[in-house]
Symmetry: C2
Subunit: 199 residues, 2 copies
Amino acid sequence: MGIILASKSPRRSELLTKCGFTYKIAVPEFNEDAYIRENTTQGMPVEDFPLILARGKAIAASRITELKEGDIILSADTSVILGNNIMGKPKDKDEAFNMLNSLQSNTHTVVTGVALLYLENGKPALCCDKAITRVTMQGLSKDEINEYIAKENVYDKAGAYAIQGCSDFFIEEIRGSYSNVVGLPMGLVRRLLKKINYI
Amino acid sequence: MGIILASKSPRRSELLTKCGFTYKIAVPEFNEDAYIRENTTQGMPVEDFPLILARGKAIAASRITELKEGDIILSADTSVILGNNIMGKPKDKDEAFNMLNSLQSNTHTVVTGVALLYLENGKPALCCDKAITRVTMQGLSKDEINEYIAKENVYDKAGAYAIQGCSDFFIEEIRGSYSNVVGLPMGLVRRLLKKINYI
């Protein structure tokens, strides 16, 4: 029995390890865009999407896992949101520049949905919630943005930055969970694991 | 020319390195208690102490350093404050327990004073400010506190916890700079370095 992490994110693995958890990893095939199309209605706030996706990922992971009593599938989805737009990973240098340029001197929102899927009296049960953190960036000149893009691997990061790297240098303040911005809100994970009496 | 870090904290070194700075280290002899006695008046808010201490440390470091035009001494002092009390490093297990027990289910303040000492037209000049972060902890049972004390080296940490370790697991939210809680508010360091046209 134990935690099955339905994510291939090294940052999520690292956070769980740091907090003393052992876990297996089981990453399901999962088409995020198709899942959002099928499971949302028009006008639904984008802040709700990460929770919907985390739930979907947990269910997809349960199909490739032999779940036993005491096992918990843990899945998560993190979005960087500015206004009503979700920022994905930048495809090229121009997109990375535009993302960082819109984030600088501004406050954006990072939302992570977390879902636990486990057996309760032999039947699958879900326990989910989301964490919201507001992140305010200092002003960045064009040169500073270009320098950051040249130095960091921004292409595998939603919003083109990683708070755990050197970007803390130009973050003015955050309001909420820090680990949420890294990719897995550990305070929320703790609350959910307590709720289902795992810890 | 370059940065001279007047601190032996490995966490401050690590943050500077992560943000791409090179620096030398020069740690002066400095008696914090005596300096506070001589440089504060009764009734002065304890939130002001870190800035006073950072300034004092920078001046002390300038006495052991051959400062050249373009050099900057960077010093910092971090305090964990609950109510009107500064929490130092716990002396023993009981003190660590009492500190963590007073911090749990509660919001405390972390203040870091940062001072830059440099030459302006050949004369020493100071540029200083403080960063304030509010940290809210989740509830912790006695067993959880004891487990944390057994696992972590709490005795070299003010307030008996380190946010960059596994304690993020029981932190509900922060309001302000994260690196401030680690020991050096990089957003503030950036602002001060810009103010004196170093970057």
